[in-house]
Amino acid sequence: MNAQPPASDTIAAPPERRESLWTKAAYKFRRDRVGVWSLAVVLVYMAIALGVVFGWWATSWAELEGGKWEPPSAEHWFGTNIIGQDIFDRAIYSTRTSFEVGLVVAILATALGAVLGALAGFFSGSWTDEIILWFMGVLDSIPFILFVAAIAYSLGDTPYAMHVAMISTFWITAGRLVRGEVIKLRGQEYVEAAHAIGVPELTIIFRHVLPNTSHILLVQATITFVAAIKSEVILSFLGIGVKDGMSWGLMIAESTQEVLAGFFNNFLAASVLLFGLVMAFNLFSDALQDALDPRTVAES
C-alpha cells in the first residue's frame, strides 16, 4: 500500500492526518486475518496471470492436444474440450484475461472518475459541475447491460469494445464519491491557503486535493475490479465480451452446451477459479474498506 499522497511543496502540505490514516490502515489491515488471507489469494492469482503474460505456462491453450472431451489425466489435469484443447491451460490462461480486464477497467474507470469527480467537486455549483453531473445522470439512467451491449455493438469488432463499455459506466460511482470528498476538502485551510498564495487551480486540484481522496479511489478500484470480472463473464456469454483469446466467461458459455451431457470440466474449471478470485477480491476489498474507514477503530 504505497498509494500515499506524493510529498508536496512546503506551502500547501496535505494535512498530517493522511499519513496516520495510511499507517493506521496498514496496521488495521495486518490485524485482519480474513483480509490478509484474501490478499494472499489475490496475489497468487496475480502471479498466475503474470506467468501467463511472460509465457511461463499455459502457452499451449490454443493447441489441439488431445481428443474430444478427454477426462482428466496426468497430461490434461482438467481434461480436454470439444476440439481437444487442454482445459487446465485455458482456465489458467483466462486468469490473465480476467486480470487484464479487471485492471484496465478498474484503473481507467477510477482515474476517469477521479478526474471528472474532482473537477465537478472543486467547481461545484458551476457549469462544469452541472455538465458533469448531467453526464453522470444520463449514463446512470441507461440500463447497464443494454448500454454495454449498445457500446459493444456500435464499436463493432474492436477488441476493446467491452472495456470501453464498462469504463464508461463504472467511472460514475468513483466520480460521485470523489466529488463529495473534494467538496469537503475544498473548504479546508490548506486548500484555502494554496488559493490565497495563487497556486493555479488545476495544480490545487490534482496535486493537493485529489491525492487526499486516494483512499476512496483505492477501495473503489477494488470494487470496480470485481464488477469488471463479473461483467466480463456475462458479456462473454452474451457474445459481446472477450474477442481475442480466452476467458472464463467464454468457457462458461462453452460449457452451457456441455453440462447436460455430463461434461462439467469447462464449467467447473472456469466457475471455481472465477469464484475464488471474486470471493478473495471481495473480501480483500471489504478489509481494505474497513482498514481505511476511520470510524471502525473501536469495532471488533
Partner: protein, 616 residues
C-alpha cells in the same frame, strides 16, 4: 462508537417471521396442467430459431418458412415421406403444363380452396383462393414497399416483371409473364428456360396471400397470417407460437404410400397408424422457439414439455448406442424415437477472390502463389475432425459443392480435396516461397457465440500446424448475422465460413454460389469469376434435368475444386429425436417443412389418439 445490543429478542421476531414465511413459501410451487387444455390433443414442437416475419415475401429463414408454408398454401409442396424430396401439387391441381420451349407454364388451381375467416374480408368470411391471388402474391416480391426477400428467384426470369417494378410496382398494371388466364388458371412466361421454377413455387416465398388482408393489416400483416393453409395461427411472440388446425382446410385421409412411404426405413416411427385416417390429428400445435441447446434438451426430457428436439451433439455418446445407423440406448429407446436427417445443404469455407492476398492478382506469378496458398489451406483442413467434433461424425463430407442430397451428386469423385495432408500443405507453401514472415494475415469472420469461436480455434490450430503463425490468423466476430452478412455483401472479409441451405433439390442452387455475375452483393460471396465456369453455368441453367446437364454440373464442380476457391464441404446431419407418443417422420430441412399436418399422437395401442368428441 456504534454497536449496541437491545438485549431483548422480541424486536427482531418480525424478521424471523418474514424469513420463515418466505422460505416456507418457496417450497410451494408446483407444475399444474392448464385446465382449459384438458382433453385436447396438444402437440408441442420446438425449433432452435425464432421466426421474425410471417409475411411470405419475408420468409427467408427456415423458421419463418416453416410457419408460412403451414399457414398459407403454396402451389406445390413436397411429399411427406419421399426421399429424395419429390414435388407434388398442393394448391395447384396438378404439376405445371410446360410448353415445348420450356418458356410457358400453365398452372391450374384447385377449386373451392378458401382463405380462413378474417375481418379483412367482407362479413369476415374467407373467400375462395383464385389465380389473381397467386399473381398478386408473386408481384409483391417486386414491390419494394413490402420489403421482399425472394425476388432473386424470379428476377430477370419472368417476362416483364422487372419492368413492372421499374414502372413503380403498380398492381393495377399487368405483368406480361404473370397472368391469371381465368379464375383458376395461372400462366407464367419466362425469358429463358428455368427448370427449377416449379421448385420455387413450393417455397414459402411463393405462398398465396389475400390482398384484402395485406391492405388491412399493413406492417402487422407480418404477424397475422391470413392464409388457406392447414393451420391458423392463434398466437405468436418471440418465445412461441400456437397453431390450431384450419377446419376449412381440404383435409383428406392420408395415403402414406402416395406420400412415398418406405417401410424399411420408416416403419419404426409407427407412421402406418395414420394411413387412411382423416387429419387433423392434433387439436393444438404449440411451437416453442428455444435457441439454447441445453434448455431445449432439458425441456425435451422433462416429458410434459416439448416433444421433439434435435439431439445435442454433446449428448450423442451418452444417448446413442450406435451412430450408423442411429440407435438409442435402451433407456432412451423406451421413450423416444430418433432418426438421422442429412441436411439439404452444406457448410463450407471460402476465400474471397477479391482480396489480392489470397485471390486474384494481376501478376500471374503471384496469382499462382496465391493458388498454392489456397490449396495448402484446403489441405490443412481436417474435415473428419470437424465432423467428429461437431456433427456426431455423421455429417457427409464430400468434395466440391454438389452435396449428397441432390441427384447430381457424384459418389465417385476423388476425395483428395477433403483429405487432410499436412505434409503436402507444408511442401506446397515451401515450394511457392511462403513462410511465416510473408504469409498474409487471415481474418476469419463469423457471428458471435461459442460454436463459431470453436470452429475458428480448431481452424487456427490446423493452420498453425502447416506453419501459419498463430498471430496471423485472427477472429473477427460480428454482433449479428446481419452485420456479418453485410461484410460479405460488401466484400470486406478475405475469408468466409458459411452454410447454405438448399432452396430446392437441384445442384443449380449451389452452383450459382460461384457464378460471376452473382458476385457481391449477390450470393457469390467468394467473388469467384471464372469465364469458363460462368459459361457452363449459363448453359446448364436453362437445361431440364438430363445426363448432359449432370455432366456439366460435375465439370463445374471440378473447376472449383481445382481452383482451391473453397474448402468444402460437409452436409451436416441433424438427429431429430421425439417422444414415442408422437407419430411423425420429421425433417429439419427448409424444404422438408410440409410434414406438420401429418403429425399425430399415439393412443398407446398402435393407433392414433382421436379427438375427444369422437371417442367416448
Amino acid at each position: 462508537m456504534a454497536g449496541f445490543s437491545l438485549r431483548t429478542n422480541y424486536c427482531v421476531w418480525p424478521a424471523w417471521v418474514v424469513l420463515v414465511l418466505l422460505l416456507a413459501g418457496c417450497g410451494g410451487g408446483s407444475d399444474q396442467p392448464d385446465p382449459s387444455l384438458e382433453g385436447l390433443r396438444v402437440y408441442r414442437h420446438s425449433t432452435e430459431g425464432t421466426p421474425t416475419s410471417l409475411d411470405p415475401v419475408q420468409a427467408a429463414t427456415k423458421y419463418s418458412n416453416l410457419l408460412v408454408i403451414n399457414t398459407y398454401d403454396t402451389l406445390y409442396s413436397y411429399r411427406y415421406l419421399a426421399r429424395p424430396y419429390e414435388l407434388k401439387p398442393n394448391l395447384a391441381a396438378s404439376l405445371p403444363e410446360i410448353s415445348a420451349d420450356g418458356l410457358t407454364y400453365t398452372i391450374r388451381l384447385r377449386k373451392g380452396v378458401r382463405f380462413i375467416d378474417d375481418p379483412a374480408f367482407p362479413n369476415a368470411e374467407g373467400r375462395e383462393v383464385v389465380a389473381k391471388d397467386v399473381v398478386y402474391s408473386l408481384q409483391r416480391h417486386f414491390d419494394p414497399a413490402t420489403r421482399p426477400q425472394g425476388a432473386w428467384l424470379w428476377q430477370g426470369k419472368i417476362v416483364g416483371i422487372d419492368d413492372w417494378k421499374e414502372a413503380g410496382s403498380d398492381y393495377s398494371q399487368p405483368v406480361e409473364g404473370l397472368r391469371a388466364l381465368d379464375s383458376h388458371t395461372l400462366q407464367i412466361k419466362l425469358v429463358k428456360p428455368f427448370p427449377q421454377l416449379a421448385y420455387t413455387l413450393a417455397q414459402g416465398y411463393a405462398a398465396v396471400v389475400p390482398r384484402e388482408a395485406v391492405e388491412k393489416y399493413g406492417r402487422e400483416f407480418a404477424l397475422q397470417p391470413v392464409g388457406s393453409g392447414p393451420f391458423r395461427l392463434e398466437s405468436f411472440d418471440t418465445a412461441r407460437a400456437v397453431l390450431v388446425p384450419n377446419p376449412d382446410y381440404r383435409w383428406a385421409p392420408v395415403d402414406i404410400y402416395a406420400e412415398g412411404y418406405d417401410p424399411d426405413t420408416q416403419s419404426f416411427s409407427g407412421i402406418e397408424a395414420i394411413h387412411g385416417q382423416l387429419p387433423p390429428f392434433v387439436d393444438r400445435f404449440e411451437l416453442a422457439f428455444v435457441q439454447d441447446t441445453s434448455a431445449r434438451w432439458n425441456s425435451f426430457t422433462k416429458g410434459n414439455e416439448i416433444q421433439i428436439a434435435s439431439l445435442p451433439v454433446e449428448l450423442a455418446d451418452s444417448v446413442l448406442q450406435s451412430k450408423q445407423p442411429v440407435v438409442l440406448q435402451p433407456e432412451y429407446a423406451a421413450r423416444y424415437h430418433v432418426k438421422s436427417d442429412i441436411e439439404a445443404g452444406f457448410v463450407y469455407q471460402s476465400f474471397n477472390m477479391d482480396f489480392p492476398e489470397f485471390g486474384y492478382h494481376p501478376d500471374p506469378i503471384q496469382a499462382e502463389r496465391n493458388h498454392a496458398l489456397r490449396c495448402a489451406v484446403v489441405k490443412s483442413f481436417d474435415w473428419e475432425a470437424r465432423n467428429e467434433s461437431f456433427y456426431f461424425g455423421l455429417g457427409a463430407v464430400f468434395p466440391g459443392i454438389i452435396p449428397p442430397v441432390v441427384p447430381e451428386f457424384d459418389p465417385e469423385l476423388s476425395r483428395d480435396s477433403v483429405t487432410r495432408d499436412v505434409a503436402g500443405a507444408r511442401q506446397l507453401l515451401i515450394d511457392n516461397g511462403w513462410n511465416a514472415d510473408n504469409l498474409p494475415e487471415l481474418l476469419y469472420g463469423s457471428t458471435g457465440g461459442v460454436r463459431p469461436r470453436q470452429f475458428f480455434e480448431q481452424f487456427r490450430a490446423w493452420l498453425v500446424e502447416i506453419g501459419y503463425p498463430k498471430k496471423k490468423v485472427k477472429l473477427k466476430q460480428f454482433a449479428s448475422f446481419g452485420d456479418l452478412n453485410k461484410q460479405w455483401r460488401e466484400s470486406r472479409l478475405p475469408y468466409i465460413a458459411v452454410g447454405w441451405g438448399l432452396d430446392y433439390p437441384d445442384a443449380e442452387n449451389t452452383l450459382q454460389l460461384f457464378y460471376g455475375p452473382n458476385a457481391a452483393p449477390g450470393s457469390n460471396s467468394s467473388n469467384y469469376n471464372n469465364p469458363e465456369y460462368n459459361a457452363l453455368y449459363e448453359q446448364a441453367a436453362v437445361m431440364q434435368p438430363s445426363p448432359e446437364r449432370t455432366r456439366i454440373y460435375r465439370r463445374m464442380n471440378q473447376i472449383l475444386i481445382d481452383d482451391c476457391v473453397s474448402i468444402t464441404g460437409l452436409s451436416r446431419t441433424a438427429i431429430p429425436i421425439w417422444h414415442r407418443e408422437v407419430i411423425v417422420y420429421p425433417s429439419s430441412q427448409i424444404i422438408g417443412g410440409y410434414y406438420w399436418p401429418y403429425i399425430a399422437l399415439s393412443d398407446g395401442a398402435g393407433g392414433i389418439r382421436q379427438a375427444q368428441t369422437e371417442s367416448p
